[in-house]
Amino acid sequence: MRILVVEDEPDLRRQLKAALTDIGYVVDEAADGEEGQYLGENEAYDAIVLDIGLPVMDGISVLERWRKADLKTPVLILTARDRWSDKVSGLDAGADDYLVKPFRMEELLARVRALIRRAAGLPSAELACGPVVLNTRSGKVTVDGAPIRLTAQEYRLLAYLMHHPDKVVSRSELTEHIYDQDFDRDSNTIEVFVNRIRKKLPVDIIKTVRGLGYRVEAPAGPDAA
């Protein structure tokens, strides 16, 4: 999962990046509205955290441009303006949720998780595929209740695939969503990660669709009830 954080205050930006990275997201940063708007339109993100009070171009204008450009990525706006008239104008501009400063980081993480889930049309914080359960809140993966240890990259890859069940996800799409923009992308590493995950999970839920990519699928048989 790849997140864009558009925040002008360096300390808050650093905290946001740290907290989001901590729970397994890849985070890109932008320090002003113009940069944020460019990144949002040209890179693939699963969610965007956007401050309203930004230099160069304010958050509402950025958001309006994104929505005009038909960008559907869920956007959480951060605002110090806590009046409902401000919230309404933010939501009317196309935000999916808002968070009023000062906020607790856990709350922000919960909102971001919920937005990503909502965009994928998933009702619960726990994503299940057969016996494999991925808890987006805790960042843990279990198979039949037994915890599986995954590295950050492995978790990101599995989480992205499990957020899009029964859909073929291409390698390039995976690359876009599990690496930040500065990473030297090599789609071959995706294959390496997929193989490692397959080895760690007692059931194989990642199917390779030749020439297209991967798809998570509950294993057939009596287990898949």
Binding site: Q15, R81, W84, S85
Partner: protein, 457 residues
């Protein structure tokens, strides 16, 4: 009477129209009285002149008819041709006398005699008043004439009763008074109409100011005469200035909030990530700071807004906008937000739109957090006020706990996100706006929030 009583003039004197009418009425009365006196005087003068002319003519007649009779006595060789001189005490008399002689008198004098003081010498014509028989008021003319062939002067007197003249004058005066009185009333009435017509723009200003006061309008609108246009312009400038000052103050307050909240977020989150006593103190104090900022900003905003006269906000559009926002916020819960308008759709709150948004936004957000499927907003007019009811089909709040949710920072359930300030702010804001909020059990099964606000309709 206290000093305060003195400074408050009576209602009658405070009315500009009454002042104009009263002062003009006084001048009018004075003018009419003076005119009446003048007319009365001129009439009396004219009537008396004509009476005197009649006496003069009769005197000529009498002198012409008199001649020296036998034994030096005066006689008339033709009668005076006027029966009034023959009827006793008729009021009309003549007398011809000479010193040391019994006067020759008209028959009407009967046994009386007109006084003729021979010691006095009169000019050729002399008019005077005297009292006749039976207390008659007489006016007389006297002339001293030496008849041909007589060696001494005879004094001729003709007297007439003035009561006839006085009656004429009295009748004239009575009619005059009635006419002038009617004229005065007519003039006063036209003036009153004129004054009311002339002062109508002032009344319109009063109405326009009342409209501002009750929130129906924010400026003095309409065409006014040039005499009071400066007042209108100045009042509007004052209103604009007032609004601008409040807006500026609010903008500063908002900027302050923005400026403080970002560092507060950073500090609180930095502390949350750390351990130890320092982190704990920072965390606690950051939370206290946040509450202070929220609390005082809300109050400052509301207090600033409340003093701005002329603000009004339509309820239905505000509810619609907020519902659109709620539907977005609670998109994954598929809640149904409905609004029911009971009566006029143009119902307006006497106050600021942002305050209304704040009150309704917090209540709707609270309802959205707890509702299972439905949130229903009912807008109605009640006794000239706006009644807004928000129902949800959530778990509701037991009656004994309802006071608690209004307490600052109180949260009934820590697992549902929110600052816990929502309903506390709602209560403070409704109170500042002159309204009230109450909780009840909703027919939908959850909580019913009843908000009552002043109406601007």
């Amino acid at each position: 009477m206290t000093a305060e009583d003195k400074s408050l003039p009576s209602r009658r004197a405070r009315s500009l129209a009454n002042r104009v009418i009263l002062s003009a009425g006084a001048w009018l009365a004075l003018g009419l009285i003076a005119g009446g006196l003048m007319l009365s005087y001129l009439f009396r003068d004219a009537v008396e002149r004509s009476f005197d002319a009649r006496l003069d003519m009769l005197m000529d007649n009498l002198i012409g008819a008199a001649n020296e009779g036998s034994e030096g006595m005066v006689s008339l060789y033709r009668s005076m041709m006027d029966p009034r001189f023959d009827r006793p005490y008729s009021g009309w008399y003549w007398q011809i006398g000479a010193k040391g002689e019994a006067p020759f008198r008209s028959r009407s004098l009967w046994d009386q005699e007109l006084p003729s003081d021979f010691s006095k010498n009169f000019p050729r014509e002399h008019y005077f008043h005297l009292e006749g028989p039976e207390g008659q008021h007489l006016r007389a003319i006297t002339r001293d004439v030496r008849l041909p062939g007589v060696d001494h002067v005879h004094r001729f007197i003709i007297a007439g009763d003035t009561s006839e003249v006085e009656n004429d004058i009295a009748a004239f005066n009575t009619r005059l008074v009635w006419w002038l009185l009617s004229l005065g009333i007519l003039l006063l009435a036209t003036m009153a109409i004129q004054v009311r017509f002339g002062l109508r723009p002032l009344k319109r200003i009063g109405v326009a100011l009342a409209a501002i006061r009750n929130g129906a309008s924010s400026r003095l609108e309409g065409d006014f005469p040039q005499e009071i246009m400066p007042l209108v312009t100045e009042t509007n400038a004052l209103l604009d200035h007032n609004a601008a000052v409040v807006e500026r103050a609010q903008k500063h307050v908002g900027n302050l909030a923005h400026a403080l909240k970002t560092p507060l977020t950073v500090v609180a989150n930095e502390a949350a990530a750390g351990d130890g006593p320092l982190a704990e103190v920072v965390r606690r104090q950051a939370d206290v700071m946040r509450r202070h900022i929220d609390h005082h900003l809300v109050r400052a905003r509301a207090a600033g807004r409340g003093s701005v006269i002329g603000s009004r906000a339509e309820v239905l559009p505000a509810v619609r906008d907020l519902m659109r926002a709620m539907e977005r916020i609670y998109a994954d819960r598929h809640l149904s937000f409905e609004v029911v308008v009971d009566g006029s759709a143009a119902l307006a709150f006497k106050g600021d739109r942002q305050d209304l948004d704040e009150i309704l936004g917090n209540v709707l957000d609270n309802a959205g957090k707890w509702a299972a499927r439905r949130v229903v907003v009912t807008i109605a007019a009640a006794d000239g006020r706006v009644a807004i009811t928000i129902d949800d089909d959530g778990p509701g709040i037991p009656a004994k706990d309802r006071d608690m949710v209004f307490a600052r920072g109180e949260r009934m359930d820590e697992s549902v996100p929110g600052s816990g300030l929502g309903l506390g702010i709602v209560r403070d804001l409704t109170a500042l706006c002159g309204g009230s909020v109450a909780l009840d059990t909703s027919p939908l099964g959850g909580l019913r929030v009843k908000i009552n606000l002043p109406s601007a309709s």
